[in-house]
């Protein structure tokens, strides 16, 4: 199939359509609005459900309702909208109803701005709502990867009965890149055995996150925790660049990883054996592969478009074995390759054992 030029937000929307999304509910917010606008045109022409909700709160509860019927439902938003959706995310998690959500992150806190950011890392991986749960969080770095991850997201969501969140920053949503779109998938005909469809010829089903009895709620939580541990053990995904012989590792996710890759190349030209570790899953964090690389390292540099969020996961793995430095920009300021390279040079002098190639 030919490669076509697609804008990130619209590519995500078309990928969801081709992945078999039957219902989209959303609310306009920059920088993800093109996704909603695309769905407004595309879903009705395929006889599928599109609805602009009155708020992000309503949108996620509409997704919850549609997903209770066992259909592939999704929403998309950006940081302040995700904050509003947290209520629904918690209910979805508590009742293990699967759905997909896109967060095209912008600067915060508060109204912040509409520039690219990665400052929802904690929100998405640690506290997507009240109670004990984690969504599966995927962080594409290119428009093609966004398409590919979206295409597989409903299998993950339904397979694990979990919430899947695709986390991109405003850059990814807004930029255009060549994309090879996957083929249109036929819609699922069979509904899962928990779906609400009206109790015709079977006992009634209930979808609830309510367990008034303490022991019952603990039991439900322990089941959820066991599932999360299983996901953590099997779903860690990452990509590396020049990792094999690296003494110094740059860790970055999403579009920042692409900038970091330029810096790693430049550092290599300057004689520093640098490599790039790019988590594709933010939760579960790819701890095992990072741990496996650790013994060969002399230092780690974490670069993020936030005040230092993922760096905590990296420090959990690396501990005090080698220095872990952090370079962050906030508010929509994008890190440049030369400053990452300068930080790498600092790291090398700090660790005092510059590797000469």
């Amino acid at each position: 199939m030919a490669r076509e030029l697609w804008k990130g937000n619209e590519a995500l929307a078309e990928a969801a359509v081709r992945a078999g999304a039957e219902a989209f509910f959303g609310y306009p917010i920059t920088p993800q609005t093109e996704l909603l606008e695309y769905m407004a045109r595309r879903m009705p022409e395929l006889g599928r459900t599109f609805l602009q909700a009155e708020s992000e709160v309503a949108a996620i509860h509409m997704v919850y309702g549609a997903a209770c019927a066992g259909v592939r439902a999704l929403s998309s938003s950006s940081s302040p909208g995700i904050s509003l959706m947290q209520e629904g995310l918690s209910y979805l998690a508590g009742s293990e109803v699967p759905c997909v959500l896109v967060d095209i992150m912008r600067g915060g806190p508060g109204l912040g701005n509409i520039q690219p950011s990665q400052s929802d890392y904690f929100q998405l991986t640690r506290s997507a709502g009240h109670g004990d749960f984690h969504p599966l969080v995927l962080a594409p770095a290119t428009v093609q990867e966004a398409v590919d991850l979206m295409y597989g997201s409903f299998e993950l969501a339904f397979g694990w009965r979990t919430l899947v969140i695709l986390a991109g920053d405003g850059t990814l949503g807004q930029m255009m890149e060549p994309v090879e779109m996957p083929p249109m998938r036929a819609l699922a005909v069979e509904r899962p055995d928990w779906a609400l469809t009206g109790a015709a010829g079977r006992p009634p089903r209930v979808i609830s996150s309510l367990y008034l009895d303490a022991a019952e709620l603990e039991e439900s939580n322990l089941r959820l925790q066991a599932k999360l541990r299983q996901m953590a053990a099997t779903q860690q995904r990452w990509e590396g660049f020049c990792v094999e012989d690296a003494d110094y590792l740059v860790v970055a996710f999403g579009t920042v990883a692409r900038i970091a890759q330029s810096a790693v190349r430049a550092a290599r030209r300057a004689g520093i054996r640098a490599g790039l570790f790019r988590p594709v899953t933010l939760w579960p964090y790819p701890r095992q592969p990072l741990e496996a690389i650790c013994p060969q390292l002399r230092g780690v540099l974490v670069v993020e478009m936030n005040g230092g969020q993922m760096v905590e996961d990296v420090r959990c793995v690396v501990r005090e074995r080698v220095p872990v430095r952090f370079l962050g920009h906030l508010g929509g300021v994008i890190p440049m390759p030369d400053e990452i390279e300068a930080e790498l040079a600092q790291l090398v002098s700090l660790s005092g054992r510059a590797a000469l190639s």
């Binding site: 709160v57 509860h61 209770c68 439902a73």
Partner: protein, 249 residues
């Protein structure tokens, strides 16, 4: 012997958790009777609220889900949009629907979602122990309006069906009561109309039902029925405020 009354098959044979004299038992029965009478039980989905009726799913022998506080109309919208041939209803209290869920019910009504809304108004937050609701009559003492609801401090009670009746998306809007046999019979008819509006695809149907809350009104179950007539009815007149022409007179 001739059977003149039986428990509707769609109402589970269980003791409820409701307080003695609570209006929910009566309304549950009316809803179950109506769904059974219309023969739609095998294609009806209930969206339960947060509040005293949160356990409604235990009593209705139907597919059920439990919404977050106030979000039942949004959840029902999601269900109905992907299952247009099913019957979807929400069962909500006054704090759930008229306060925290005000935006969700307003916009579901504006969109004319063909869903049915069963709205039980007892003028207080029951589950949390009798706090002031948007529906609390002026002057009424509650645990969060201990000196009585005073409009300059706490605003005015909301008459929701009257408000929603002004919207073109609403096919049926009525208020009925559960304080007497005659009113219960009228309530049954109103609930049937609200479901019929959905079955005919006419738009949103809502019935507000005045229900007793003896526990939080701090009166006996018998006195609570008097309370409805003396305190609630002057604020909440009974009637049909919108009846789509296609529903007949």
């Amino acid at each position: 012997m001739e059977t003149i009354y039986r428990r509707p098959a769609l109402l589970a044979d269980l003791p409820t958790h409701y307080c003695p004299g609570c209006g929910h038992g009566t309304v549950h029965r009316l809803v179950a009777e109506t769904i059974e009478g219309l023969g739609i039980g095998s294609r009806t989905i209930c969206v339960a609220p947060v509040g005293c009726a949160v356990l409604a799913y235990k009593y209705f022998v139907l597919d059920c889900c439990v919404a977050a506080h106030g979000r039942a109309p949004a959840m029902a919208t999601g269900l109905k949009r992907v299952l247009p041939d099913r019957v979807v209803f929400t069962y909500q209290g006054d704090g759930d629907l008229a306060s925290i869920g005000g935006n969700e019910i307003l916009h579901a009504a504006l969109r004319g979602e063909p869903i049915t809304v069963i709205f039980v108004n007892n003028g207080v937050y029951g589950m949390t122990g009798g706090q002031m609701a948007p529906t609390t009559p002026l002057g009424m003492r509650t645990t969060s309006s201990p000196l009585g609801r005073e409009p300059r401090q706490q605003g005015y009670p909301i008459q929701l069906p009257e408000l929603l009746a002004t919207l073109p998306g609403v096919a049926y809007a009525a208020r009925r009561s559960t304080h007497s046999v005659a009113e219960i019979r009228r309530a049954r008819q109103a609930i049937e109309r609200a479901f019929t509006a959905q079955l005919r695809g006419l738009g949103l149907g809502i019935v507000e039902l005045l229900g007793a809350c003896p526990t939080n009104w701090q009166v006996s179950p018998g006195e609570a029925l008097e309370f409805i007539q003396q305190v609630m009815l002057p604020v909440y007149p009974l009637g049909e405020f919108k009846v789509a022409a296609e529903l007949g007179a």
